[in-house]
Structure formats: structure tokens, C-alpha cells
């Protein structure tokens, strides 16, 4: 496929690898912010061909992983209502809530549908006028516009049986949370290419300056990732701390203005709880007060007691890159992808699951 296969070309990949080996002189710890990048690094086996001195840390950029327990409990509660069809993305339905996951709710009779797009959920709402259709909308800045668009469609069509349970979080506050932790080891960031496709690069220049750290907006294919890492290491080796854009074929400095307009029309910023990280100020979006008829949380006034997260799970430290998954006492024993204790073990992009699935770490636990 054009614009994919070129960036998987083994020869080019190896030229980048060679170059990295050539220029790397010190140990460098770099965080790839986005779970999709983590996924690609492990799936393509890039981690074990990088120079040993380069230490990649998996960031908090997996929306599934950071969705708070309480919100999942709410989604489960809504799904178990006989009058509700709950739609969600495939990744979300295995995430454990405090009592069960959406998958387990489905196994006991809840009507839960897996969607590729929120616009499909609109179709479900149109076709089931006697049911309430709730879209459990997770996502970073990349996904939020599509979810916003579904509300705009519902409004235009006059659908009164469609609403959204929103869990939208933002990358820049997460980077700040990582950097503000005194234990942080991170020396450079690969920023999330698709998030910047929407938002542009404007928010990241100040962060690079504030924390005096290289930030390279990076894509997802092997060549992208290696070029991004190379750009970061070059800055680090040269003592620089700039914003660079590896992914310029897709990311414009100004982002996508039409998408940003939709975001502003539908969402307002708020403090947001992140699973494993706690509440981060101004770190997420929720549906604007004017549109609260489409806010499932308000529409159904779901009151679910907050339950504390599992005490043994060190997801917060993993997400901040302070600890590696296998440093967790639960990893691979009490916590596995079939029975995850914390969210990073759930999504195949979650840092813990990625380690479990694709690295030799799996070896020891499987034996």
C-alpha cells in the first residue's frame, strides 16, 4: 500500500539503524508518547535492533489504558440497561472495570456493539428509534473530532436517542505530568504524529523550551520511528532541545483547522482523571453544556461509586516511564492479558501488554 510499504523497506530501515549505531555515544532515554508507536516498535521487533544505549520508554498515549475505572463502570452500567445499546471501539471492551469489563457484561446479556467509526453508531441510533444508543467515546486529540462529528450528525438528523459517554484526554498535559515527576528519566520525546495531525505542532515548541528537551513529531512506520529516534538522538548528542517534525507528509504546523473548529464547537476543556496518573488539570475534553442532551453521563445521571485502583499495579509509574512493566510484581503472574489488573495490560498497545506479547519477556511467564 502506498505511503505504508515504502516506510517498511528493510534496506532503508537498516541504513537508519546503522546511522543510529554510528552517532550514539551515550545512554539516552526517550519516550514514545503514543501507544501506536509502542505497538509498531514491538511488533516490528525494532527494540532489539536499536543500539543498546538507546532506551525507549512507553508513554501514556493509549486512550484505552488511561480511561478511568469509574468511567468504565459507568459504561458497563449503561450497557446493562435493557433499553440501551452501547457502542464502542473494539479495544475498549476488554478493559477491566472495578467489577467487570464490557466484554463480561456482554457475556451476561448486555447489548454491546463494536464499531469501526462513531458514524456507524449514528446509523445504529437511526435504525433503533426505540432504544437509547450510547457511544463510549475514548480517544486523544486524534479521535475526539470524529466523536464530535457524530454529535453534529445526531443534531442535524434530530436524533434524540443518541448520546456520548466521553473520555477524551490530551497529550500536552500528559507530557507535563511525566516531566513534572521528580523521578523522571526521560530525555527526549517522540510526539504522537496523528495527534499533531489534528492539533498541529504549536503546543509542543513551548514544552521543548520549558523542559529543555528534544521533541520530534513522529509517524508510526519503522522508517518513521527510526528517523524520529535518529532526529532525537542527534539533538541529544548535539546538546539541542528543539521541536522537529519527522511526519511532515501528514502533519502541518497549524494542524487541521476544520477538525479544531468541530472540537471547539462540541467540547470544552476540563480537569480529567487519568487511570494510573490521577487527576491532571485541563487535561481533557467533555461535551459542552449547550449540548448536554448528547452527554450520556448527564442524560442518564449515572451515579457509580468510585472504587480505588488495584494497589499492586504500578501502571502510573509505567505510564510515566519510571518503571518497566517487568519491574511490576504482578507482571505475568497475577496480571496477564487474559486477566489484566491494570489498563496497560489490556490494550495491545498498553505498555505491559506490549511487553508481554511481543518481547521475550513472555518467555519466562509462558514456560
Amino acid at each position: 500500500m502506498k505511503f505504508l510499504s515504502e516506510y517498511r523497506n528493510p534496506e532503508i530501515v537498516h541504513q537508519y539503524i546503522d546511522e543510529l549505531h554510528k552517532i550514539t555515544t551515550k545512554e539516552w532515554t526517550i519516550m514514545e508518547v503514543c501507544g501506536g508507536q509502542t505497538h509498531s516498535l514491538v511488533k516490528n521487533g525494532i527494540l532489539n535492533i536499536l543500539p543498546d544505549k538507546i532506551n525507549m520508554v512507553h508513554g501514556p498515549g493509549c486512550p484505552v489504558c488511561v480511561t478511568p475505572l469509574n468511567l468504565i463502570d459507568k459504561a458497563v452500567h449503561l450497557a446493562e440497561d435493557k433499553g440501551v445499546i452501547l457502542c464502542s471501539y473494539g479495544d475498549m471492551i476488554r478493559v477491566p472495570g472495578s467489577k467487570k469489563s464490557l466484554l463480561e457484561a456482554k457475556a451476561t446479556g448486555a447489548d454491546i456493539r463494536i464499531m469501526y467509526s462513531p458514524l456507524e453508531a449514528i446509523k445504529i441510533a437511526r435504525e433503533n428509534p426505540d432504544k437509547e444508543v450510547v457511544f463510549f467515546a475514548v480517544g486523544f486529540e486524534t479521535t475526539a473530532p470524529a466523536n464530535a462529528l457524530s454529535i453534529i450528525h445526531a443534531e442535524r438528523e434530530g436524533l434524540t436517542n443518541y448520546s456520548v459517554l466521553a473520555s477524551h484526554v490530551l497529550v500536552p498535559p500528559a507530557i507535563e505530568a511525566v516531566m513534572n515527576d521528580s523521578d523522571t528519566q526521560i530525555q527526549g520525546f517522540l510526539a504522537a504524529g496523528h495527534v499533531c495531525t489534528i492539533m498541529g505542532t504549536g503546543e509542543y515548541e513551548p514544552l521543548a523550551q520549558k523542559y529543555n528537551i528534544p521533541i520530534v513529531v513522529t509517524g508510526f512506520e519503522p522508517v518513521d520511528l527510526l528517523q524520529g529516534i535518529l532526529m532525537t538522538v542527534r539533538q541529544l548528542e548535539n546538546g539541542e532541545a528543539r521541536l522537529e517534525n519527522q511526519y511532515a507528509r501528514v502533519v502541518r504546523p497549524e494542524g487541521n483547522p476544520a477538525a479544531i473548529e468541530m472540537l471547539n464547537r462540541v467540547f470544552q476543556m476540563e480537569d480529567r482523571e487519568w487511570r494510573g496518573l490521577g487527576t491532571i488539570p485541563n487535561s481533557g475534553w467533555n461535551i459542552r453544556t449547550e449540548l448536554e442532551a448528547y452527554n450520556a453521563d448527564i442524560k442518564f445521571n449515572v451515579n457509580i461509586l468510585k472504587v480505588p485502583e488495584c494497589a499492586d499495579c504500578i501502571a502510573g509509574q509505567v505510564l510515566k516511564g519510571i518503571k518497566k512493566p517487568f519491574e511490576c510484581s504482578q507482571f505475568g503472574t497475577n496480571c496477564t492479558p487474559e486477566k489484566p489488573l491494570g489498563a496497560p495490560m489490556v490494550s495491545s498497545e498498553g505498555a505491559c501488554a506490549a511487553y508481554y506479547h511481543y518481547s521475550n519477556a513472555g518467555d519466562e511467564v509462558n514456560a
Binding site: M1, E11, E19, R156, H194
Partner: protein, 95 residues
């Protein structure tokens, strides 16, 4: 996060009296609908990046080449390798 893949716009259909532009986008032989509401200037033939059924960016062909020229640009290698297809059908096992 944010699985998004590049595809080529095959056709564009106007819905709701032209308020909504829906495209048929070709991804390596399969076709899927995507909304163009966030790309008002995308046209048939354009390559766009699609995420959860919405096209979010046009792909810039010129910028796309830069990854292959970067090493050359930074003066570190001598030869530029053109993009090539991955051979998935080789019969012999090199292991």
C-alpha cells in the same frame, strides 16, 4: 493510539443536500466510506489519512519523499535507495 491509514479517494458523494461529503477511499484493494467533513478541499485522487471513518489529513507527496532523502541530506550516506515493494512471496527459506 490512533490507528490511521493512508488511502486514495475513489469517489465523492454529497449527502444532506451537500452539507456532508462522503468519500469512497481505497486501501490496498478494499473500499471504505470516510467522511470528508474535516478536509473541505480533498478531491478524488488525493491520498488521505483516515481514522475511525474520518479523513483527517491530505498526504503531501513531496514531504513524503523526505524520509528517504534525510540520511543523504544529513550527509551521512552515499547512496539513496528508492522505495521498493516488500517481497512477500518468496519461496525459499533463508533461515
Amino acid at each position: 493510539m490512533c490507528l490511521a491509514i493512508p488511502g486514495k479517494i475513489k469517489s465523492i458523494e454529497l449527502q444532506y443536500d451537500g452539507v456532508v461529503r462522503m468519500a469512497k477511499v481505497l486501501f490496498g484493494g478494499i473500499t471504505k466510506e470516510a467522511s470528508l467533513e474535516m478536509l473541505p478541499d480533498a478531491e478524488v485522487g488525493d491520498y488521505v489519512l483516515v481514522h475511525v471513518g474520518v479523513a483527517i489529513s491530505k498526504i503531501d507527496e513531496e514531504e513524503a519523499q523526505k524520509s528517504f532523502k534525510y540520511l543523504e541530506e544529513i550527509g551521512e550516506i552515499d547512496e539513496l535507495v528508492e522505495h521498493s515493494q516488500i517481497d512477500r512471496n518468496g519461496g525459499r527459506c533463508p533461515l
